[in-house]
Symmetry: C2
């Protein structure tokens, strides 16, 4: 796999200096003064030997690991794949490793995380799986381990990395209203989960601003089943609805299912917009109009945020401001009433 690991000792010998100098030169220690010629001898030796510091040795001495944990609620949810990808990419650039953790039974997450911290496997944590009653939150509040919450904010934590979800909802409502819809419903995520709540608020606010009824909202889990049930519920109670805005792609799949079961054609009888632009959206029947969000940027920003904290910056919350984009496909059209 390589020309046999070179150690710092090897580099030092090759450059004819001591380990200390080699180390300081390679780390760019600012207080160091060396002759330029010496410096370049070290640098050249290092590249010639393909030197890479051994993370265990460095970590042992520096009492840090160069790795972050990234906790996602469910590996199978494609939204997280995007966030994770963004995080991985940025981590590679910043020369740290990311340990991905799935957080399916929140109870086991506390032991897992504290074990990883105690073993010295991670320096900090990015949590994408927050929920109000999550046992991890209490332990993190101690401040013993640096962390940020990504996507799912924890109010009051002061370390949230989020996107402008409310704006995304507004864009969805605008798109539908622009087509002439006056009766729009929202299949919302669980109110307990922060982005769900923010999207719902964004929906209600913009609806109100446009003089539409902001109350046609049904809450459900971010799953196909949840979307199905919520949509059926909404459409039964409010047959006048001509459009639905789903809070996630899984829910949107359920919404399409509901339409099919209730014998409503999309978009003829019902327009559907969804959060989460993904390849799947393009190949559902009909292809779904969706809102594209900067998920990779979000993941990258989370990595930056924890690393900055570890380097001593004061923790702070961050909002990725890139505006949502509406990807228009066949699932949205003017309402029948206005068309006929």
């Amino acid at each position: 796999m390589s020309p046999a690991r070179a150690t710092l000792q090897d580099v030092a010998r090759e450059a004819d200096v001591s380990k200390s100098i080699a180390s300081r030169v390679l780390n760019g220690t600012p207080t160091l003064s060396v002759r330029p010629e010496t410096r370049s001898r070290v640098l050249h030796a290092a590249t010639r030997l393909g030197y890479r510091p051994h993370v265990a040795a460095r970590g042992l001495r520096r009492a840090q690991t160069g790795a972050l944990g990234l906790m996602v609620p469910d590996l199978a949810m494609p939204v997280y794949a995007r966030i994770v990808r963004g995080a991985f990419t940025r981590a590679l650039e910043r020369d740290v490793a990311v340990l991905l953790l799935e957080d399916r039974q929140p109870d086991s997450s506390v032991p897992t995380v504290s074990r990883l911290v105690q073993e010295g496997r991670i320096d900090g944590l990015i949590v994408a799986s927050a929920r109000p009653d999550h046992p991890l939150l209490g332990r993190l509040r101690d401040g013993l381990v640096s962390h940020v919450f990504v996507n799912r904010a924890v109010p009051g934590s002061g370390v949230n990395v989020t996107m402008s979800d409310a704006e995304a909802s507004a864009a969805a409502v605008d798109h539908l209203a622009g087509l002439g819809h006056r009766h729009i419903g929202h299949v919302a995520g669980p109110a307990a989960v922060d982005p769900g709540r923010r999207r719902a608020t964004g929906f209600a606010n913009r609806a109100r601003e446009l003089g539409l009824d902001p109350s046609r909202v049904a809450e459900s889990e971010f799953t196909e089943r949840g979307g199905l049930d919520a949509a059926v519920d909404l459409l039964r109670r409010h047959p006048e609805l001509t459009a639905l805005y789903a809070s996630s792609l899984s829910q949107a799949v359920g919404v399409l299912d509901a339409a099919w079961r209730m014998d409503l054609r999309v978009p003829h009888d019902l327009s559907v917009v969804t959060y989460d632009e993904m390849p799947l959206a393009e190949h559902l029947r009909p292809p779904l109009t969706s809102i594209s969000m900067p998920l990779a940027e979000l993941g990258a920003a989370a990595v930056d945020a924890v690393l900055d904290q570890l380097e001593g910056a004061t923790p702070r919350s961050i909002v990725i401001e890139r505006p949502p984009q509406v990807v228009v496909r066949e699932s949205t059209a003017p309402p029948r009433s206005s068309a006929s």
Copy 2:
């Protein structure tokens, strides 16, 4: 996060023994002889202090890291989520960490892996992203880093961990034939990718055994678009087909799309079975009959296989034998001809 890291020194002091004894007792060194009373003092001290060995220190000394790399082709593909989950779970049991790596530009994977190995971040590698021309294969053949290939086998490598894909195809064909279908097509994966080829072979063999035409096969990428194109192609060229077997769920979504475009109703005009049982399959229209495979077991077996290698076992290939299960849903029914 914890009552302040305890070191081996702390345990030793608490148990009133030397570090050496503490280390040996905790590691269960077989050649050690201690009085039972001493041993239990050490053990109790360790649990009382919540001692966890520092992986960097241990790794430095033992020249190994207690971590494995797991390379998947695409984080957004839910199939891999299952495999990864299985691997994570087993890794936790065996007390190692798993570093997940996405392998989207194979060219960058060689530098990434050799860097991780050189830095001492991983001891071994599980590769789920093999392709015949993958640059990583050449470098792995050197034998400098322990590895296995999972799901996508590399012929001749001798370190493949796979499932009985061919049997799965046979089960799909059996299910369709059992319903009365005599004209079955197969939307296959790329022949270059091993499981695709094995599934196609399995399909052809069983078709032949049943006296059906084994040649109704179209190859495509494991994507929605691929499935769409392949299905359109097959159905145009062979209008007599009454059933299609898709090699992956993404492709199956494309197949449904194709049916819709060609104005074929599923299952009335066309039955569809797919590989890869997932929640999504249940909520597509119509819900898809699918083949469920032991993906988590596959991931776990891969972890075991690399760890065994690292412990000195001779490398070998493994096949998970658990038989495929057909989950019957509404996308399959007797062919129209036999019904009418």
